[in-house]
């Protein structure tokens, strides 16, 4: 039916990731300290913070809000996903299968001493965004230097 066009460039980070995934090698980017490796079936996740909160962004294409279960266990955020579900139609023949199916549990440990204060979450265009407000003691306290 088709053949896929292959291009020698650009050598993107995504291509690195997919190559590493294929050969089950640790990510080359890990040496930079910031970029994590992604094992097969794992949902790509970014974690960042600002003064007030931690933010977790996870790629969950095809997942409905009701298929996601978020819970805070101590200082860990646990994301349980039931799906996406495979097409079980008998009238289908797959020519190529690269997408990931099945249930997933992912636990993200937050660098906190106590549980986050509040959690709110939303999904937009297949990306789950979770905001975890920091407890007061975890926020940076600013001290003003007053002149004598």
């Amino acid at each position: 039916m088709y053949s896929e066009l292959v291009y020698p460039y650009p050598f993107s980070r995504e291509l690195f990731r997919r190559l590493n995934q294929f050969f089950s090698m640790p990510s080359l980017n890990e040496s930079e300290g910031l970029f994590g490796s992604l094992s097969s079936g794992e949902l790509a996740t970014n974690v960042w913070e600002d003064e007030d909160a931690f933010y977790v962004e996870m790629e969950v294409p095809g997942i409905k809000p009701e298929e996601i279960d978020l819970s805070i266990i101590g200082t860990e955020l646990q994301v349980k996903i039931t799906g996406p579900h495979e097409n079980e139609s008998k009238n289908v023949r797959y020519l190529r299968r690269e997408r990931t199916f099945g249930n997933t549990v992912r636990t993200i440990t937050l660098p906190l001493d106590s549980a986050p204060k509040e959690l709110d979450a939303s999904i937009e265009s297949g990306v789950l965004c979770v905001r975890l407000r920091k407890p007061e003691e975890a926020k940076v306290q600013k001290i003003t230097v007053s002149p004598k």
Partner: protein, 134 residues
């Protein structure tokens, strides 16, 4: 399963045209399935808006692109702790044989998945042939 379906088509080809995005892009994972009357391409392209999806069919080549909005850079106090994906455009192209009715290709985007319907050309659709009595 072979990565390249060779039954009805030629081997891998390299595009010599200048339509390949020049900046870094992500290659979305796809499922390609065949039904009685159509082929279906489903591509995981999370994080983009429907209006930023661009699908072109030109001279037997299907190109799918998704343009990622530049993230808000106003938050200067953002500190990255862990990164496994980058906000980059998506791009992937397929050489489609004559087994598809190109005029009837349709697509929709929802929940981060792009679905492209490629109806089979009439010649490939199963036809029941009645046996007439003499």
């Amino acid at each position: 399963m072979s990565l390249v379906e060779t039954k009805n088509n030629t081997a891998l080809q390299t595009n010599q045209e200048s339509t390949v995005p020049e900046k870094s892009f992500r290659i979305p994972p796809v499922d390609i399935s065949e039904y009685e009357n159509e082929y279906l391409i489903e591509a995981d392209m999370p994080g983009i808006k429907e209006e930023n999806v661009d699908i072109q069919f030109h001279q037997g080549e299907l190109r799918i692109r998704g343009f990622m909005d530049v993230p808000d850079e106003k938050n200067q106090k953002r500190i990255d702790r862990y990164r496994q994906f980058e906000p980059a455009d998506y791009y992937r192209a397929f050489r489609i044989g004559e087994s598809v009715n190109a005029a009837e290709i349709s697509a929709h985007y929802g929940d981060g998945i792009l679905t492209v319907h490629l109806p089979k050309a009439e010649i490939l659709k199963p036809r029941k042939i009645e046996i007439s009595q003499k």
